[in-house]
Amino acid sequence: MLSKFTRAIRRHWQLYLFLLLPAVYIGIFAYYPMTGVQLAFKKFDYNLGIWGSPWVGFEQFRKFFSNYMFERVMTNTIRISVLGTIAGFPVPIIFALCLNCVFHLRYKRTVQTITYMPHFISTVVMVGILKQFFHPRVGVYGIFYTMFTGATAGDLFASPSAFDPLYIFSGIWQGFGWGSILYLAALSGVSPELHEAAMIDGATRFQRVHYVDIPAIMPTIIITLIMSIGSLLGVGFEKIFLMQTDMNMRVSEVISTYVYKRGLGSGGNSDYAFSTAVGLFNNVVNLILLITVNKIASMVSETSLW
């Protein structure tokens, strides 16, 4: 056993040397912080540090589950995530199927260049654009609102009912073009012979989409769906945090923003241990969801992540 090990090292030492740096790096920046999740079961004492702080068992979790914020952040997270998936998931698929039918290649390329563009806009700029576009006075929304009703528009960022649509549709706007690439790639792999055979049998273009194209991208659809269900509670921190205002906080506070505010926020009530516990809860639920969904998918469709 030992000789096998030393032989491997001697023979491939250069390759192991390559791996050394990334492995150490991941060790420090990914695995070491994982030891910090013990904080979730402790009461953090600034002077004693993570390792020295006293254990309190599941106290932090109990505190979280009994907190009124628990229900709020959970429902907000799940609501935003589910609505976002329902509204956003089909768009890139439909777009890719349509684009695949376009036979004017220059038009196709132009459309692609334009629709991929928003993907590269940073979250900060994206929210900045949203704020300007829907500005009650300066923005297009405000201008048209005044034009048709004569009144001045309300501030959408102050309205809780406007938060979901703003968040979800801006997400679709930014992501559907880019999201379609995956499906287009799968569609480009469809053998032309299948289409030819279908045409000889008298299939219309629509029937060919239905019976040739859609089955061809089904595995991709399932994988993408697994990923998005697996990250149900992983609603992105960045954009929601930037879109939050005091007025929409009731519907916009999600787990990740809550973790940030309770941990590093400037409210004066920062509690490292509590925040870590909430974060760990989120992480574990995500992991369980991902594994479960993947299991189910591999059972029913033979398509899975692993």
Binding site: L21, T35, C101, V125, Q132, V140, T204, N282
Partner: protein, 297 residues
């Protein structure tokens, strides 16, 4: 014959719908972009009185002049360029040296290493343990915190590994091995030159990531001299903080209030311009990257 005509008519309707959907979606993407561009090239009064809907009104470059007088924007720009260049070099280097050995199927322990890396994609310590790590190793308020954490993405590493596996023939390695070529030499003389496409993909992905990042800077940096552009943008675009004292010129300070919105539009353009400029030329590499990523390795 009758059936053939019917077929064509059905297809015609279908194509009309398809082209309509595509065109509608494209216009809906394009319009906000045009709106922002047009606004940024209008006059301050036209913007603040809500006249700009499609084309610039009272064409002017006033907004851009103001942006370039804004000292914090320059500082942010400079910092962002630095973080992007240094960070990206670090990222690409790490990704390559990690992906190459793992692409060698005969390497003992390869599966173990792979699991070691992949696990971190699905589980992490979380915000506070990460923060405490940065504090303990003295990264808070240093440039390192913008470059080192997240220095390589395991996902990109897997994409790179798949690329190497599928494009560089194994026979080549065997042939060079017979000639006594070491792994180092093989990596630098053959793997790197043959991986140009994936290196382009990695560079662009990582560079865009660095350019657009704000979260790390927000939690780890308090020293304004180190702030990247996105953090300043957040203050101005999202939090509405424009500090008249940032302007050296008294007159500018006076008219600043009315210019605030115009400045925002110009800022949006200035901050996004570098990426948008390069993007059409490198689009195909990005697409390539996604396609390789979709292959299961």
């Amino acid at each position: 014959m009758a059936e053939k005509i019917k077929l064509i008519r059905q297809d015609k309707i279908f194509y009309t719908i398809v082209y309509a959907i595509i065109t509608l979606l494209t216009i809906s993407v394009l319009y906000p972009i045009i709106y922002v561009l047009s606004s940024s090239f209008s006059s301050g009064t036209a913007v603040s009185t809500g006249q700009v809907v499609l084309f610039p009104v009272d064409f002017s470059v006033e907004g851009y002049k103001r942006v370039f007088e804004y000292e914090r924007v320059w500082m942010g720009y400079r910092n962002t360029i630095f973080y992007t260049i240094v960070g990206t070099i670090n990222n690409v280097f790490m990704t390559l040296i990690c992906a190459y050995p793992l692409s060698r199927r005969e390497l003992p322990g390869r599966k173990g290493f792979m699991a070691y890396f992949v696990f971190t994609m699905y589980f992490s310590g979380g915000m506070i343990p990460n923060y405490l790590l940065m504090r303990d190793i003295g990264y808070i308020n240093t440039i390192w915190v913008m470059i080192m954490p997240g220095a390589f993405s395991v996902y990109q590493m897997i994409v790179t590994r798949t690329f190497i596996n599928s494009t560089i023939p194994y026979e080549m390695l065997e042939a060079t091995k017979i000639d006594g070529c070491s792994d180092f030499r093989y990596f630098t003389m053959f793997v790197i030159p043959l991986s140009k496409a994936i290196i382009a993909v990695l560079t662009l992905q990582y560079a865009v990531g660095h350019w657009n990042a704000y979260f790390g800077a927000m939690i780890y940096l308090t020293n304004k001299n180190l702030f990247p552009l996105q953090v300043f943008l957040r203050e101005i675009l999202v939090m509405n903080q424009i500090q008249p004292s940032d302007f050296t010129d008294e007159e500018t300070r006076m008219i600043m209030q009315g210019m605030a919105d115009l400045l925002k539009y110009a800022l949006i353009v200035v901050a996004t311009f570098p990426i948008m400029c390069f993007y059409p030329f490198i689009q195909k590499y990005f697409v390539q990257g996604i396609m390789i990523g979709s292959l299961k390795g």
